[in-house]
């Protein structure tokens, strides 16, 4: 039915099956869209956020998708700038994941603000001292870069490629992609960092505040670093999931191993920095403000030391080590465990840096504020996931995302008819 669009030589499932799958996920999208419309038309009272929880699930989702979307910029950086050529076999997919993550982040932000129609004031009346301004500018610019990076891949669609203009455009764009990759890496460095800065500069919140370098608190660098470290984990994880669902091998092991290795070393170094940061904060910064570290992890029914331990050791040190060591890295099961832990780890870190900050009382007579998101928040947070699945399904089906697919899955020469 849609075979004319399917990449040459690639085998895809029957269209009805595909359509059913899309419809199921589409229903989730519609649910999310409904919740989104509720939030827009009825206001943010649809959420369970409150004056203690000005930042909640959405901002976490935002930070998390941007962190895991960091695979795009980092892979791009490695491929185009550091010329790690093997990565060309996964770069398309990394870019698509990045595109999904960043578009989702922008969408969530558009729902999250109280007056969405004035959201552009962040550009129009920008306060250059605000980390959020930096985030907004870099995020938007980098999204533009990701779109540009994504375009050539779209143009490689069999039908689109037949149009000479598109064909050339795609070709030429590939040629200059290094420039965009560099720009993207630069922008990413800043917005990943400034997202970390968002928490780190809140000097009224002893749990969040960090000292730092010039105007940038340490969280700035930690966020960038962790995004670079865990982003590829997510790229690998989604690749793995796609491979499982399609039942095909799409990327060669050496590529996977390479990315995993790089990710492993990044995680390992990151986690050392994170540990140093945590120790300094726990021993110096917070006590200097009158807070014993136990204040952050006790007297409430949810946030305990377990969260710190999980984030740093179980989802930090362990995946780092698993990916560094050749034997575990090349063991598919352990590698999978490591990348899953890694993704959980970075999401947990973002959770802590958004929600735990808000939960902790600062005034001595204040109380812990715990929060459970409303279904509207959950639905709008699931929305990007569902949208991501659809976009991946569609791009996988119609675009030559994985250059090694053909090679790895030798199909009988074009049996399909036009």
């Amino acid at each position: 039915m849609d075979s004319a669009l399917i990449p040459e030589g690639a085998k895809r499932c029957a269209f009805p099956k595909f359509a059913v799958g899309i419809a199921i996920v589409g229903a989730v999208v519609l649910w999310g869209v409904y919740a989104m419309l509720l939030c827009w038309f009825k206001g943010l009272n649809q959420t369970n956020m409150n004056d203690n929880y000005g930042f909640a699930l959405w901002i976490w989702a935002d930070l998390a998708v941007i962190a895991v979307g960091g695979g795009a910029f980092f892979t791009g950086l490695l491929k185009y700038i550091f010329k790690v050529d093997e990565l060309k076999n996964i770069i398309n997919f990394a870019v698509i994941i990045g595109f999904i993550c960043y578009s989702s982040a922008l969408l969530i932000l558009a729902i999250d603000i109280g007056q969405p129609l004035r959201g552009w004031f962040i550009f129009w009346h920008a306060n250059v001292h605000s980390m959020l301004t930096e985030v907004a500018f870099c995020l938007s610019c980098y999204f533009a870069v990701l779109t540009i990076e994504f375009i050539p891949n779209i143009l490689e669609n069999r039908q689109a490629n037949k149009i000479p203009f598109f064909h050339h455009l795609a070709h030429n764009m590939h040629g200059v992609m290094a420039i965009f990759a560099a720009t993207g890496a630069f922008l990413s460095f800043f917005h990943q960092g400034s997202l970390g800065g968002v928490a780190g500069v809140m000097y009224g919140r002893p749990f969040a505040v960090r000292e730092g370098l010039l105007i940038w608190p340490w969280t700035f660098f930690l966020f960038t670093w962790s995004a670079a470290a865990f982003g590829p984990c997510f790229t690998l994880l989604v690749t793995k999931i796609t491979e499982t669902i399609t039942g095909k091998k799409l990327v060669k092991d050496n590529v996977v191993h390479l990315l995993a290795k790089i990710s492993g070393w990044m995680i390992f170094t990151y986690i050392i920095a994170k540990i140093i940061d945590t120790i300094y904060w726990a021993m110096v910064t917070a006590p200097g403000l009158g807070f014993d570290i136990s204040r952050f992890y006790s007297d409430n029914s949810f946030y305990g030391y377990w969260i710190l331990l999980t984030e740093i050791v179980i989802c930090g040190v362990i995946p780092g080590l698993l990916l560094i060591m050749k034997s575990t890295r090349e063991n598919p099961a352990l590698r999978l465990v490591a990348i899953i832990l890694g993704v959980i780890g970075v999401c947990l870190n973002r959770w802590v840096m958004v929600l735990q900050i808000m939960a902790i009382p600062v005034m001595s007579f204040d109380t812990w504020a715990l929060y459970i998101p409303s279904w509207q928040e959950v639905a709008t947070t699931v929305l990007p996931v569902a949208y991501g699945i659809i976009l991946i399904a569609v791009t996988y089906r119609y675009l030559p995302v994985f250059p090694q697919e053909k090679e790895l899955n030798s199909v009988e020469p074009a049996a399909e008819t036009k």
Binding site: K162, P164, F165, H168
Partner: protein, 223 residues
């Protein structure tokens, strides 16, 4: 042009099938394209400059005409009617009671406008629903006392030579914002020749910067 042609040529050559015929056609198409481009450009530019303002503003007539020149002549100055109250606030457009200090139900003059005024408003004790050219959004605070009393500015600097006018100009209401055209200024580009041509925040800030060295903090003009 030729460069583009070449590109197109090579493009056609490389692409399979379909666009084999017609360098000339392409050429013609491109020519048409350029013409269309120029045409659309000019039309859109002109309509954006000339037609757009007409669409953007709806003209509203004041309840009746008011001759500022005549009244200034009678009273001597602006402050007789547009006064700063003892608490330092500004009375804006005077209430009917102020007018009634001179006007009774018997007209003072012979104009049609005054007849309307006395019949419709003075006799019925009804306030005149003037459209206010300089009305600012609710979030704006403005102290007339600070400007006229303390700094000795005259009314003209911001309001223009309204005191010498004999007719009220039509009130042009911005269909999007609901505010008067005077705020953005008559010039659709927002270019001003006189200090009174525009009344936007940037104009306040500009003058403040010049006169006080600082554009002021938010609360100076916002409430």
């Amino acid at each position: 042009m030729s460069k583009k042609e070449n590109k197109n040529e090579s493009g056609s050559a490389e692409s399979a099938g379909e666009c084999t015929a017609g360098d000339t056609k392409d050429d013609k198409g491109l020519g048409l394209g350029v013409i269309f481009f120029i045409l659309a450009f000019v039309i859109c530019f002109l309509s954006g400059t000339l037609l757009f303002p007409k669409l953007l503003y709806s003209k509203k007539e004041q309840p009746f005409n008011f001759n500022h020149e005549l009244h200034v002549g009678e009273t001597g100055d602006c402050e007789s009617c547009h006064a700063i109250r003892e608490d330092g606030s500004f009375n804006g457009i005077p209430k009917l009671a102020k007018c009634q200090e001179c006007h009774t139900e018997t007209p003072l003059g012979e104009t049609e406008d005054e007849a309307v005024f006395t019949e419709m408003y003075v006799a019925k004790e009804k306030e005149v629903p003037w459209y206010v050219y300089s009305r600012q959004p609710d979030c704006v605070f403005f102290s007339h006392a600070a400007h006229t009393k303390t700094e000795g500015m005259d009314c003209v600097t911001c309001h223009g030579p309204i005191g010498t006018s004999t007719n009220l100009k039509p009130y042009e209401e911005n269909r999007i914002t609901g505010y008067s055209r005077e705020i953005w200024g008559q010039n659709i580009w927002g270019i001003k020749k006189h200090s009174w041509d525009r009344m936007k925040m940037d104009d306040c800030a500009e003058c403040h910067k010049k006169e006080t060295g600082h554009q002021g903090y938010c609360f100076q003009c916002h409430k």
